[in-house]
Amino acid sequence: MTFKPSRRQILRTMGTGFGMAGLAGILSASKTAGSMTPSGASAPMAPKAPHFAASAKHVIFLFLNGGPSQVDTFDPKPMLQKYSGQPIPSGNLQSERKTGNLLGSPFAFRRCGQSGIEISEIFPKLGDAIDDVCVIRSMYTEIPNHEPSLFLMNCGHRVPGRPSMGSWLTYGLGSENQNLPGFVVLCPGYPVVGAQLWSSTFLPAIYQGTYIPNSEKTPDKLINYIRNPSTPLPEQRRALDLLRQLNLIEEKRTGEDSQLESSIQAAEIAYRMQSEAPEVFDIAKEPEAIRARYGDHDFGRGCLMARRLVERGVRMVQVYYGNGQPWDNHDDILIHRKLAQDADGPIAALLADLKASGLLKETLVIIGGEFGRTPVMEVSGLVKVQNGRDHNSHGFSTLLAGGGVKGGTTYGNTDEFGFKAVENPVHIHDLHATVLHALGMDHTRLTYRYSGRDFRLTDVAGNVVHDILA
């Protein structure tokens, strides 16, 4: 039977007035991902059933922004070492700036875990956890520039204007904790491009990422207006009770209205958030030994907050490694060692904690940046030291763990020097399709009508990489 909600119900359901009316498909919507039904009336973040059985319920995206070099981290290339200093026989591929001869990695690789996957020495703890990780070595993107690649990786399109992955996920699935935002973004400062990377653009505004500057250490500074500077909670409760009574009187006078009803509920949630949100962001509550494993730096604290948020049912948390683009080592690839030092411990600690609590089974952890780096040295004249690598859109590595992903495996390969994905190449659209699939959604069915057509996270492309899913 086709359920036919009234237009008013549809609009109310989204709590957004009417940005979406006129959808051709909406009148036959069912209570599944991305649909708008009265079940979600006044609670657009209420959990919704996926299209099919999901292997993951949450996503944590650890974004190593700036473009980590695959040949120095997760993609060992003996030929690169052997021919270091010589020209690449097949010629250099297009990158952003001028590049020269092959540059061998200064870091040694070692076989890790039962699976024996080779990981760079700069990620020793992540190496020990590799049996829970799938290393995709054949990622590729479209343009060797940060902005378009950041947009593509986060929003599925090279230019601004499309909703971010977290917005699509919360639009599709809602969230499991109504006292916290469903999509949280942690970054000390801002990555390049900034807030557009977690914007909901044409999706209803409630699905935008809630940005928390995790360089701040106290919950009050982390969330806007989370605490009242002067009024204690019992007094605020009394004020809220009065507000509720006045609102109910008004509703009696003007007639029942789900919009007014949701406004009353939102105030109650806000009140509860004041208790729950400061607690979840207060990582000082974690035992000293736990905090030490994550490290007392931005990324470590971000990973710990991500764990605490997912434990409380938040759908997606994205943790940016740092302000700007720290992994953009044009000059000196040795800086990667220092960057990895702050990434290695927290990533391993997060995976271990999620595994110990059983949450890793239902949490898909994505680790990577917007593109890779060239196996050849940058010689652009813009660099002070000639020991670094340029942007590389042709090939790079992304790591997936948990959430139904086959751990201790690798997928795809770059060429013998690590420049270009040649075996089982995985486009960003394919990655997005795979992430949505793990969360139980068909990427071709999670659509939103805007400006006269149905939009998807994967636009008109994307193939699910079934081989990496258990």
Binding site: S6, Y225, N228, N247, Q259, A266
Partner: protein, 296 residues
């Protein structure tokens, strides 16, 4: 497009550039070579092209009534919504063109209608027949948009700076000017504007969204702006009358332009009597109330 059909070149007759047949059935002539852009603009704004006037009229209507006669303001095509009152839409569009595309006259015409003067009073019988209110049996209740909300709070607190014109100013603590003069950063939208559904300045926006989310309530409960304006309103109320009873009446007059009911008055007394510093908390509640924050 990589399909072979797109690559294969078959000899087709080159058609002269002209305007859509669906918009311009009569007097449809090819655009003059070298003047296509001008011709296109003229065709769009032509009095014999009904679409432009219909779209414009519908947009103005949606501003006044909450929803357009066509509820897909950017899509009047086959996939879009059918107009609820096609004759009315065409009447207004025709009149709009005849009146020299005067928006002022259009606004006046709409705002003088009986439909615009309706209250949002409920009617179970009408609701049963037309829950969407497509036939305009009552006013559509709407949350105030970000600008109206900020301006209204400042107006009620007595702090609104009505100075007109000048360069845009950031919405900081000292800025009490109308929100229309707010500095809009495309990179980092002001958090209050963003919270209350100000459109993304990088996208086109056919209509404002109206979300109702908890973070908005945190703003009413805890933001320095809400607290400052509640305090200012409490001071304004205190200066206007001396007894609690008169002050409660004054608060309702300032915020809601009506007298409180006996029940509302009783609740107010009960709340205020609990402690001496309750007035700013009380005015803050009224500024957060649905009656104030929704247009009805």
């Amino acid at each position: 497009m990589s399909g072979s059909a797109a690559i294969r070149t078959t000899r087709v007759k080159r058609l002269p550039r002209t305007f859509w047949q669906s918009c311009l059935r009569r007097n449809r002539k090819p655009f003059a070579r070298g003047k296509e852009r001008l011709a296109l603009a003229e065709a769009i704004a032509s009095p014999v092209n009904p679409l432009t006037a219909r779209v414009m009229v519908n947009r103005v209507w949606q501003q006044h009534f909450g929803y357009g006669l066509v509820r897909t303001p950017s899509n009047f095509g086959a996939q879009g919504d059918r107009p609820s009152h096609p004759e009315l839409l065409d009447y207004l569009a025709g009149r709009f063109v005849r009146e020299g595309w005067s928006l002022k006259k259009l606004h006046r015409e709409m705002m003088l209608t009986a439909a615009y003067g309706l209250s949002d009073a409920p009617s179970p019988r009408n609701y049963a027949e037309d829950p969407d209110n497509r036939l305009l049996w009552r006013y559509n209740r709407r949350r105030l948009d970000a600008e109206s909300l900020r301006d209204s709070i400042l107006y009620v607190s007595g702090k609104l700076d009505l100075q007109a014109g000048g360069p845009a100013v950031r919405l900081d603590k000292e800025n009490n000017r109308r929100t229309v003069y707010a500095y809009i950063s495309r990179r980092q939208l002001d958090p209050m504007l963003a919270l209350f559904d100000f459109p993304n300045p990088n996208n086109t926006s056919e209509q404002r969204l109206q979300t109702t989310v908890p973070l908005q309530k945190l703003f009413f409960m805890n933001s320095p702006f809400a607290i400052d304006q509640s305090t200012a309103l409490a001071a304004r109320v205190a200066a206007s009358a001396s007894s609690d009873d008169q002050r409660i009446t004054a608060t309702y007059h300032f915020v809601l332009q009506r007298d409180p009911t006996a029940e509302e008055r009783r609740l107010a007394h009960e709340f205020i009597s609990r402690n001496a510093g309750a007035w700013p908390a009380y005015t803050q509640v009224l500024l957060s109330s649905n009656e104030f924050t929704y247009l009805n």
